[in-house]
């Protein structure tokens, strides 16, 4: 569902313009997994996914013309995707209640959650969704194995600050996971 939307959006944007389609298509192709994860982390329900992914791709495409080679491509892409996602989330922040996890994972194959690791994974997702917007961005980048230097460039804070904040968030996540497992 989600990635079908990406495909539709990209196809139509590219059909409607004369920009170098092959490069842009490849960019989305190479990074669709992270776009998917960011989208899932900042959407409150299934119906918002479509809007957010289109918004992300639209801004990536729109910003592509002004892409500056002084930035690394991944830094540029993460900045655009996270900025769009955070703004989108804040705009749609009308309900305090989080979407039930089952709704958020509708896209994922409906295999029964049986193993302990799967349960832990879902708890981790839930715990991430409960973090504040900026903390959520930090931990997503860390989980995607970005270096502190990259995260610092993407977020616009010092490396030391990145390190200490991530350390705190990790502790918080671990604590929440432990608590959830004990219930």
């Amino acid at each position: 569902m989600f990635l079908r939307i990406i495909y539709k959006t990209v196809s139509h944007i590219l059909m409607a313009t004369s920009i170098d389609t092959s490069n842009f298509y490849k960019v989305i192709e190479d990074n669709k997994a992270i776009l998917y994860k960011i989208c899932h982390s900042y959407c409150r329900n299934e119906s918002e996914h479509e809007d957010l992914v289109q918004e992300m791709i639209y801004h990536l495409w729109k910003s592509a013309e002004s892409f500056n080679a002084e930035y690394r491509f991944s830094t540029w892409m993460y900045r655009v995707a996270l900025n769009v996602a955070i703004s989108f989330y804040r705009k749609s922040k009308t309900s305090v209640l989080l979407v039930p996890l089952s709704n958020l994972n509708n896209d994922i194959a409906a295999s029964p959650v049986t193993t302990n690791k799967e349960i832990q994974f879902q708890l981790l997702q839930q715990a991430i969704q409960e973090l504040k917007e900026l903390d959520r961005a930090l931990i997503l980048l860390w989980l995607e194995e970005k270096s502190y230097q990259d995260i610092s460039e993407i977020m616009g804070i010092s490396e030391t600050n990145v390190a200490t904040r991530i350390s705190r968030i990790k502790e918080k996540l671990k604590q929440q996971l432990r608590q959830q497992q004990n219930i």
Partner: protein, 228 residues
């Protein structure tokens, strides 16, 4: 639980996506009509639409100021001194508001989604909070709407009505508008009068933006973990 266990859990995400074949582009289907509809919706909600609204307000404001200046220039006489002062002051306040709107339009043009997350989010939230700035400026014109119709002849004819009705009302609005100009600021967002004044739905986003700005500032500050 160790860090590598968290990372390993996250890696399971990729596996799940692959298993579910969610990343298989070949299975996606085109739907032109739906896309066009969503394009329109996005355009309506984008910053571009904010620029259009603010540009419209600037044009409306300029027309209003032009009308006031025109009336003012055609009323240059001692008998219309109150009108001249009031129209001049209202035109000036509106002109300042127009400048602030123009400043907002420049800010919007400067927002680039590929700048760092904190920089972009800060600019966006500042833009929302600055709506308060316009409001406090516009409050300043209130007292001039209370006395523009007064003339020296009217005062001579009924001085009691002037001193007992017009002057107190104008003085009251002057005091209130100056007080509001000084006190309408995000720092007072938790005070009762502020909540009462800005309780409507359209202000909720502005106040949330102010809270998020505080959060951004706190986020930028270095934190020191206690030594073990």
């Amino acid at each position: 639980m160790e860090d590598h266990q968290l990372a390993s859990l996250w890696k399971a995400y990729d596996q799940k996506l692959e298993q579910a074949r969610l990343l298989n582009l070949q299975s996606w289907v085109l739907n032109l009509q739906q896309f066009e509809r969503q394009q329109q919706q996005r355009a309506q909600h984008s910053l571009g639409s904010v620029v259009r609204i603010k540009t419209g307000l600037v044009i409306a404001g300029l027309l209003w100021v032009a009308l006031l200046v025109y009336l003012l220039l055609h009323a240059l006489a001692w008998s219309k001194i109150f009108f001249i002062i009031s129209a001049g002051a209202i035109a000036l306040v509106n002109l300042i508001a127009i400048v602030v709107y123009l400043q907002h339009i420049v800010w919007i043009q400067q927002i680039k989604p590929y700048d760092s997350v904190l920089a972009v989010q800060k600019k966006l939230e500042q833009l929302k909070v600055s709506t308060l700035q316009i409001t406090r400026i516009l409050f300043l014109q209130a007292p001039f709407y209370c006395c523009w119709f007064v003339s020296p002849a009217m005062i001579a004819a009924s001085p009691l009505a002037f001193w007992l009705i017009t002057v107190p009302i104008t003085a009251f609005f002057t005091a209130v508008s100056i007080w509001l100009y000084i006190n309408i600021k995000p720092a007072n967002k938790d005070k009762k009068w502020f909540k009462l004044l800005f309780s409507s739905k359209e202000w909720t986003g502005v106040l949330a933006a102010s809270a998020f700005l505080d959060e951004i500032e706190a986020f930028k500050k270095e934190i020191v973990l206690p030594s073990e």
